[in-house]
Amino acid sequence: MSTGSAIVAEGLSKRYRLGAREPYGVLRDRIGQLLRSPFRRRDRAEPAWIWALDDLTFEIGEGDVVGIVGRNGSGKSTLLKILSRITEPTRGRALVRGRVGSLLEAGTGFHPELTGRENVFVNGAILGMRRQEIQRRFDEIVAFAGVERFLDTPVKYYSSGMQMRLAFAVAAHLEPDVLLVDEVLAVGDAEFQRRCLGKMHDVSQEGRTVLFVSHQMGQIRRLCRSAVWLDRGRMRAFGPTDEVLAQYEQAAGSRDAEAAGGGVFGGWELGTGGHVLDGGSEPFVLRIRISPGHPVSEGHFGLGLLSTSDEIVGGWDFEPISLSGEGELLEIALPQLPIRPGVYRWTFTLFDCGNNLSGGRLVEKWVAMPDLQIHAQPVGHSQDAFAGVLNVPASLRTGSGAVVESAGRGDHRPSGPSRLVVGLG
């Protein structure tokens, strides 16, 4: 392998038995089989196999941050498991340079009876840190998790959020040459997610190689320079993030439409094109393509905006609306959307009320796959924890007449339209 590459995979494949997993047997069955027919070879029904990974060949350079996208069951986690040596490939091989840290699930090895302090050491050791390393970074870890006061309390008395934060904090302070991260960021509150992403950004800035699985396209866009798209164990695309995600989203969009049966939902975009909203205090238009398949006379159309943790940020509904049933474009105008920078998702619902008084029949409900990204300068509060969702500036006048503007997050204020910095903690 050349000196510039961190990971080289050649024909990497992994086969699993169909059905949940490799079955673990009961000895009795085996013995029973032998007793009934001692001379016959054990007649097993030909097991069905599935290739979770099928002939992957790729090369990842040192210091690259690579996002991995794909539907559930496309082999993303299997790939990380093989690269972190948790399970062996069935065929092919891979070379990985340097220490590998994997974060497939935060909190591996936490013991409920042990205190937070003790668990930091145990968990660190399990993830491959040396005792001295943990000691050196202990204060940092604790501060990152924000559990200073509970260090000597058994972890079983922690809230699940606290446990998660502590677990991620330990993992984030690993210093591996290659970091493999599965969708651990899907949990936790938005504020903590932001901090985690920021931490991962720092790690990549230090020249380490990161492989990152996520379903949130916004996260991948912000963190990764290149991306891999896996589909049913095969590599569909590998290249610059924008290109790969564009292909993936197009395919996902049309699949969403397919899944919606007759393609009721045909995708969405902003009036200016794309899914990125710069600013948010200006008026803008949202375009949604739908084709219900049949005329809707007294329809009810609902639009919701969700945060990454599925909290409703905003909701609007419209009725009655009538639709021809053919494909048509809905245009929704909003005067502004002054919310914090980050990634959000749209949900759409369409009810056909017709003459039905009991509330109507649900025609379709979607969650839009490509995320809405808000790129804006935070202007409300300087600390994420107190900033909330709204991103509206305020000014304060004191008795002496002095005026103070509300603070943004000064130290992270982007100098230009930089995609990498906005929204990171």
Partner: protein
């Protein structure tokens, strides 16, 4: 904080990830590399074991002492089993120490891999550390009980000769036996959960074919070689010889030693063989 410097590419080792083929033993060098994790795993088990118990570490002593009392009354007083001229309580306790080490380790270690399912499927480390750490925990109990044995020997006025210097050797043999059996059982348990239910019976039977409650001299001479195929026979006889002046066990020690080596080497290969599919099966 300035970005940490990472060593240049050439300094870092390259790991090859490929399907393993054939029979290879557990990688012993890797166990050494991961010794800190082994220490942490042992520490964690020791730490957790007696949490929220009223008696705490006293349990480590209480169990063998209670067994010793029962044995002394049943076998020493009532059945009047010969104890080769040694006071029966010391005779029994001296054998109970390595036995407890073995039985505890075997029970805990067999379940160790399955119990660590969470870790197994989320992070890489040499899996063999799991049974090894359980055995090491058994050693901690062993050390605590050993103090009691010394006290008993003082109480009975027993003064060991130079043979006492061989105690580490017998301890090593006991640990090797525990490790060997644990490697087999913990790996089998991943695939066949029957092991868990077999264990209590297995432990009980094994106790009867080991000279804990009685002396090896009760076994007919002609059958001693077969009897010694049970490695714990060599261990227990060795302990008695080294500490309380039992008879020198003779060539059967080598039979036991040979049996341990065979079991251990086989276990190292078998464990490695099964290890490949642990994460997929467990």
């Amino acid at each position: 904080m300035p970005p940490a410097t990472i060593p240049s590419a050439a300094d870092r080792p390259v790991h090859l990830i490929a399907p393993s083929r054939g029979w290879v033993p557990v990688n012993l060098a890797e166990i050494w590399e991961y010794r800190e994790l082994l220490a942490v795993l042992v520490w964690r088990q020791v730490r957790v074991r007696y949490k929220q118990t009223a008696l705490g570490v006293a349990w480590a002593v209480l169990q063998p002492v209670a067994t010793m009392v029962v044995f002394s009354v049943l076998f020493g007083r009532l059945a009047k089993l010969p104890s080769d001229g040694v006071p029966y309580p010391v005779f029994a306790f001296c054998a109970l120490l390595p036995w407890q080490l073995f039985a505890y380790s075997m029970t805990e270690a067999s379940n160790s891999v399955v119990a660590s399912q969470q870790m197994l499927t989320k992070v890489y480390f040499p899996r063999v550390l799991l049974p090894l750490s359980s055995v090491a925990v058994g050693l901690v109990d062993f050390a605590v009980s050993f103090v009691v044995l010394i006290a008993m020997m003082l109480g009975y006025g027993l003064r060991p000769g130079l043979e006492v210097l061989t105690v580490p050797l017998w301890t090593l043999l006991a640990v090797a036996t525990a490790v060997a059996v644990s490697l087999w059982l913990s790996a089998i348990n991943v695939r066949y959960r029957d092991v868990r239910y077999t264990l209590p019976l297995l432990t009980q039977l094994w106790l009867f074919v080991t000279p804990v409650a009685y002396a090896t001299s009760l076994v007919p001479e002609a059958w001693r070689w077969l009897y010694a195929m049970n490695p714990m026979v060599g261990v227990v006889d060795g302990f008695r010889w080294a500490l309380v002046g039992g008879a020198w066990p003779g060539p059967s020690v080598f039979v036991s030693g040979g049996a341990v080596i065979a079991l251990l080497v086989g276990g190292l290969f078998y464990f490695r063989r099964m290890e490949r599919t642990f994460a997929d099966v467990v």
